[in-house]
Amino acid sequence: MNVTTRWAAVSLAAVALVGLTGCAGAASASSSAPASAAVEPLVLYAAEGYDAVAPKAFTAKTGIPVKVVDDSTGPLLTKIQAEKNNPQWSMLWVDGDTAFASLDQQGLLAPYAAHGSFNTVGKALIPSDHSYTPTGTTVMSALIYNAAKVTAVPATYQDLLGSAYTGKVGMNDPAQSGPTYPFIAGLMNQFGGQTGGVAAGEAYLTKLKANGLKVFPTNGDTLHALETGQIDYGLIQSSAATGEVIKVKATAAFQPKIVYLPKSTLLPSVIAIDKGASAVQQAEAKKFIDYVVSSEGQAVMLTGDPTGDSLFWPVVDNASSLKDLPPFPTEYQTLNPVFWGPLQSQVVTWFESNIK
C-alpha cells in the first residue's frame, strides 16, 4: 500500500499539472483579450452554416470578440438545459422557433426589438414579446424527387396517399431531425388547426405509413436514401433539397427536382439573447442581432454555406438570396410556436411508437 500511496501522490501531482496548464492556457487567453473593460467576449451557441463568417465579420466591424460553440441544434439545447442553473451562453442561433418559444416560457430569454426593415414574412415570424428574432427562413418541407426514375409529381399532400407513391416516399425522424417536428406540426395545423389538428395529422401520417412511408434519421440520410434508390420522393428541409440539386450533377439514373406542396411551413433561423448574460454582453448581443439583420450582415451570411444553410429566403428588405434558390413558395403558413412547442414531446413520442 505504501507504494500505492506514493503513486497516488505522483498521480495527484500530474493532475495538478494538468490543472495548472489549463489555468495557464486560460490566463494567456484572457490576457490576449482587448484591454477595454467595457468589452466582453460574446459566447454564441450556433448551428448554422454561416455561424463562422458572420461573427468574424461582426468582430472586424465592431471590435467585439465572439466565441462560437458550433454544433447541431440538439447538443446545444442540451447544453443550455444543463446550464440552466448558471447559463454560460450569450446568444443562441439555430433553425426553428418552437424551442425558442419554450425557452421564453421558462424565462430564459431577454427581449429585443431588432433594428431591421423586416418584410411581410419576417413580421409574421416575430413574436409579440420580441423574445427572439428571425434572421432568414427556409421551409419544411420541400419534396425532392428523382425525375430520372419517376414521372408522377404530386400537387398536394393527399396525393402522396395514392398508389403511384406506394413505398416510394421517405421523411426524417422528428426525434433526430430538428426541422421535422415543425413539419409534422405544420401538417397538423394545416389539416385541423389548433383544435383538431393533432388527430387529423396523426390520421394522415397513419395513412402515409400504410402507403409505405419510410423514416430516416435526418435530412442527409433521407437524401442518401433518394440517391441510392431506396425512395423516389423525400420530404426534407428546403435548404438541404436545394443544396442537393446544386451539388449533384444530373445523370441518366439520378435527376433531383423539387416541388413545394401547399402549404409550406416556415422554418426560420432564429437568434435570441440569454437573459442571464451580463448587461455588457446583452448590449453587445443586440448589436450583433442588428448586424445580422442588416443588408451587410445578410450578404455575409450568404457566403458561409452556399450549398446548405445559406440557401435561405431573406426576412428583411434590401437583402437578396442566392441565385440558385427558387422563388419563395406562394402558399405558406407560420406556426404558433407557443401552441405547438409544448406539444413536441407528445407528438414525437406518438410518431416513434406508431410511424417509425
Partner: protein, 599 residues
Amino acid sequence: MAIQSAPLRDQIRAEGRPGAELDVAISPRRRRPPRPRFNALTAFWLLIVAILILPIALFLAVAFSPALLSQGPDWLTLSAFSTALTGHLLLGFVNSLVIGIVTALASAIIGFALAWIVIRTDAPARGIWTGVVFALFLTPSYLIALGWERLLEPNGVLQTLGWDPTAARDVFYGPVGIVVVLTVKGIPFAYLAISNALRGLGHEYEDAVRVHGGGAIASMRVVVALLAPAIWAALAIVFAESVSDFGVASTLANDSHFTVATFELYTAVQAFPVQFPVASAISWVLLIFVVLALLAQSRALKGRSYRVLGGRSRRAIRRRLSAVEKVAVVIGMSLLVVIALGVPTFGAVSASLIDGLGSLAGTHAWTLANYARVITSPDLSAPLWYSMQAATIAASVTTVLAVVCARLLAAGRTNLSSRMLDMVLLAAVALPGIVFAAGYIFAYNLPLTNAMGIHLYGTTTLLVLAYIATALPSTSRLLVGSMSQIQDSMLHSSRVHGSGAIFAWLSIVLPVISRPLLNAWLLTFTATLLELPVSQLLAPPGQQPISVGITATLAKYDFGGGTAMEVLAILTALLVVLVATLIFRLATPRGWRTLGTAK
C-alpha cells in the same frame, strides 16, 4: 523466517490464522497505530470523487429530484422511472441486456483465442494481428456499422457489383448485425485484458499438468482457470461497454428500428424538449445491469488467489502449429480482419475516395478531391492539433491513475476501498459519455462552485478531466489483470536487499507492467482523440475538438469530406501508435520487452 511466499501469506490471512504476524518482519510500519492524517490515498479518493463520483451522482440524482438542478418542479418524484419503464423504453432495456451478454461471451472467446494464437503459438504474421487489435480500438463503432450499411443497403455497393444482398440485409439489419459489430469492438478489450495476463503466466503450470499425465485439454483448462480474473474482467468490461455503446445504437440499431437503451437515453437528452430526469432513470437501470455483472464476477472469483507472476516464472514455450493449423489460423484471422476492419475501411474509403459510390448520382470515378479539400481546411488542422494535445495529457494522467486504481483493485477483493473502487469504475464504464458530460455541467457549473472561486466549466482543463474520467474506468480494468499477477515477494526481495520503495517499484514492477502501460496509454490516446459526447458538451467556446468538427461536416451533408477527415484523424492516431511503439522498442531494455514472450 522473514519472507513468506505471497500465496501462502494470502491463505494465512484468509483463514485468519495468527501466522499473519509473520508480515511484521517485512512491513514493520503496519504495526503503527493509524494516524488520522491527510495522506495521499485520501487525496486520491478525493480526486475520484471529484472526477467520477460527484458528476455521476448528480446526474443520477435528477431522476429522483429534478428540482435539485432546475430540471423540473418536483423535489422528490418517481415519475421519470414510470416513463423509463414502459413500452418502448422497457423493450430497449431487455434488448440491451441480451445483446450485452451475447457480445461479452463472443468477445471473450474470440479475444482469448486471439491472445493464445499471438502469444503462445508460432502462427505466421503475429505482429500484424496485434496491430489489428489497435486498429480496432481506433475504429469507432459507428464507422464499422456504417461500413456494413454501405455494403448491404439497397443499391449499395454489393448490389452495384451485381450481387443481391437482400437476404444478408434482412439478417444483418437487426440484433445479429448489432452483436457482430459490438463483438468486433469488444474483441480488443477482451484481447488486451487476457493477453496481458497470459504474458505473465509462466509455463510451469502447464508443465505440471503434463508431468502429471494431463493432455492438452487439461492443460488449457488450468490456463483458463488461472486466467479467470482476466477473463471475468474481459466479460464484465465488454458487457458494460456494449450496453453503453451509442455508435451502433445510433446507426445500425436506429436504421433497423431496433430499440436499445442507450439510444433512448440519447433521445431523452438530445431531442427537444430535453428530459434529463428520464435519461437519469435509464442510467439507473444500466447501473443495475452492471451490478449484476459485478456480482457474477465476484461470485466466480471469490476466495481464490491468482498471483502467478513471480521471480521464478518460466518463459512460456510457443506451440508449433502444423501446416494445416497455420492455414486455418490465417483464414480465421483474415476473416476477422475483413469483418472488423475491411468493411468499415471500405465504407470510409469508398465514401471519401470514390465519387458517389453506391449511389445513383456521381461519376463513380476515383478522386482525391475530398482529401485535397479537407487537408487545407481550417476545420481539420486546428481541431486535430487541439484534440491531440488534449488526448496526450489525458492519456498520460489516465495511465498513472489507472496504475494506482489497478493496484488498489488487485490489492484484494476483501478490502472495502478496493471493492468500492471496483464498483465505481465498472459503473462508469456502463454509463454513456453523455452522462459524464451532463454530470460535469451539473457539478462544475453550479453557482455554488463558482462562488467558491472554481471556474472550471468552459475550460480545456475540465474537458481534459472529463476525458480522464471517461477513460480511467476501462483503462484501470485492463491493467488489473497484469497487476493482480505480481507477487509481492519480488518487491519484498528487493526491499530486503536494500532498495528504497520507489527504486524497488521502478526496478521490479515497472519492467513487468511496461508493455501493459504502453498499451493503456495508446488505448486512452486513441479513444480520446475521437471521443464525441464529452467533447460536444464540454469543449470551451471557440475551441473545436476534431470529433465535433467531423460531426459538423457530416451534418452539412458533406459525407465525403466528413469521412475524409475521419480517415485522416485515424491515420494520425495510427502514426502516434507506430511512433510510440518504436520509442518503446528503442528506449527500453531488452528484458522489459522479452518478458511474457514465449520461446
